[in-house]
Symmetry: C2
Subunit: 311 residues, 2 copies
């Protein structure tokens, strides 16, 4: 079983409109809704790969209820979201049918009280000590009210329970989290540069590792992944450039890394899986889903090469 | 007591963003929610004027629950919304903080089943026979699944119960509704032109009356109202042009007409109230609310002049 944590879960809403014109009135022709927030996206991909996943974080209000109603029928996903008095945020993607372009509007999320945070910590402690837990993923932004060192606390609790923990966030929560020595961090190029001050990926990845992460897997967009670990360094590249919507590609990469970790695959196989899933997500017609046939087509063709890691 | 019917009620959501840029990602800085749909807007203004109002129509899903939660604490408003399996639609106003302009995105509304429509008709029949009911207002668009002749049915039921009925809608539902002989219709210039084929308001208003409405009150935007009734014709103009957001100005005019009807005011007084409320809504800082001091300032200064109605 894998646990994913989404402190700022969201109800993802997609509106299709014939053409988006600022300051005009639009009739929405199609409305779709699904559970969102990085940890819930990761959970959906893990479940599609055949893993049992428990999801936690916060859910509240009528939007939280809608989110949980959507989760309930999902196979292999167990809902362990903690209640919060505020309402779960909505994230709205407005898709312009004429161009296919998307305009994104993200609500900030509910204010979490100190009592709600303390109650969550108790429930999380219990979850990380569950028998058979193979890994924990801590994903996404923090809602208002959650302390900026939240991920550091959650990392220490997972490590105390001897469960490998992956962190995928940005800014100050990433900086504090890395110092708590997570097993894996998966920043993208911008997050890595913000953390280390270096725009040179190889150097920045090594620097992030020196700051405390046991392994750093940097996602370089269409160029694949760069990993620096205790077992060595690798570069994993997709066999070809793919075109499409990159929304959710990073979450699919996290799911690839976690599933490979849970299955005790060696690093090169984990990275190949992450790159193939990521590319299969970019080409999928629905944002954040992955295309299974693209995934199986690309997986054996991802090029993984060893890197000298003069750390 | 006044009854307002909102068959396609909505959860009105307003997002404030620093600046709306198509195809970019935006952090929403402020989220507000309130019950929406024309009949609910009318009810809010009536309640502010001191009238007891019962609201009906459909509400369903988690959005319907949120809408009803917002209604519950409103003084003088009684919730008699009928349940529907589909979810109440959302309407989203994205306000660009830089320019103050609004981009509107309206969901289509839930599909109403024949059984739900029949159940609603039964509940409505009961409501229009309630003792002390002074007027009924039928407001807004029809959700998918409701027959296009719905308003004609509701008008006949109100007239059979000897309760005056006002209709405020557009397109084919307006055309069918007018033929059922409502006491008042309140089209705007576009709706009137669509109904009658004439862009000349005086002629179109008389024509709409010949089609079956006992009184026609046409709203001419910043130019006020033009009324043709069995008691005579009038033109009512605001004392000055006001600047602001016209959202909800038509609903405030309906509330003015209904409150005047319930209080048995003569037509010129009803029209003055409708024009003053409408202008006080345009200048209010919150869309759809009216500014009480502007209302009391303008009310005695609205110019109402008799018109020759050579109908």
């Amino acid at each position: 079983m894998i646990l994913t944590v989404t402190l700022n879960a969201a109800l993802d809403i997609t509106y299709r409109v014939p053409a988006l014109t600022p300051h005009a009135s639009h009739r929405v022709t199609e409305v779709t809704e699904r559970p969102g927030g990085k940890g819930l996206n990761v959970a959906r991909v893990l479940a599609a790969l055949g893993h049992d996943v428990t999801v936690t974080g916060f859910a509240g209000g009528d939007t939280g209820r809608t989110l949980r109603d959507h989760l309930a029928p999902e196979p292999r996903i167990t809902d362990a979201l903690a209640p919060v008095a505020g309402a779960t945020r909505r994230t709205l993607a407005v898709v312009d049918a004429a161009t296919g372009d998307t305009t994104q509007l993200n609500e900030p999320g509910p204010a979490v009280t100190p009592a709600e945070w303390t109650a969550f910590l108790g429930a999380y402690e219990e979850l990380v000590h569950r028998e058979g837990l193979a890994a924990v993923a801590l994903c996404g932004s923090l809602p208002p009210g959650v302390p900026v060192g939240a991920y550091a606390q959650l990392i220490r609790a997972a490590r105390a329970a001897r469960v490998p923990v992956l962190l995928d966030t940005s800014g100050e929560p990433l900086r504090r989290g890395v110092a708590a020595r997570p097993d894996i961090v998966k920043p993208n190029a911008d997050e890595l540069a913000e953390l280390t001050g270096s725009h040179e990926p190889a150097q920045a990845t090594r620097d992030a590792r020196r700051r405390g992460a046991h392994a750093v897997v940097a996602s370089l967009g269409a160029d694949g992944l760069l990993a620096v670990t205790a077992d060595g360094g690798w570069r994993a590249r997709p066999p070809k450039r793919v075109r499409g919507n990159p929304t959710g590609a990073g979450d699919s990469a996290v799911a690839g890394l976690l599933s490979g970790l849970a299955e005790r695959l060696p690093w090169p196989d984990r990275l190949a899986r992450a790159v193939a899933l990521s590319a299969a997500t970019v080409v999928a017609p629905v944002a954040g889903e992955f295309d299974p046939s693209t995934y199986s087509d690309l997986l054996p063709r991802v090029a993984v090469t060893g890197q000298v890691t003069a750390a």
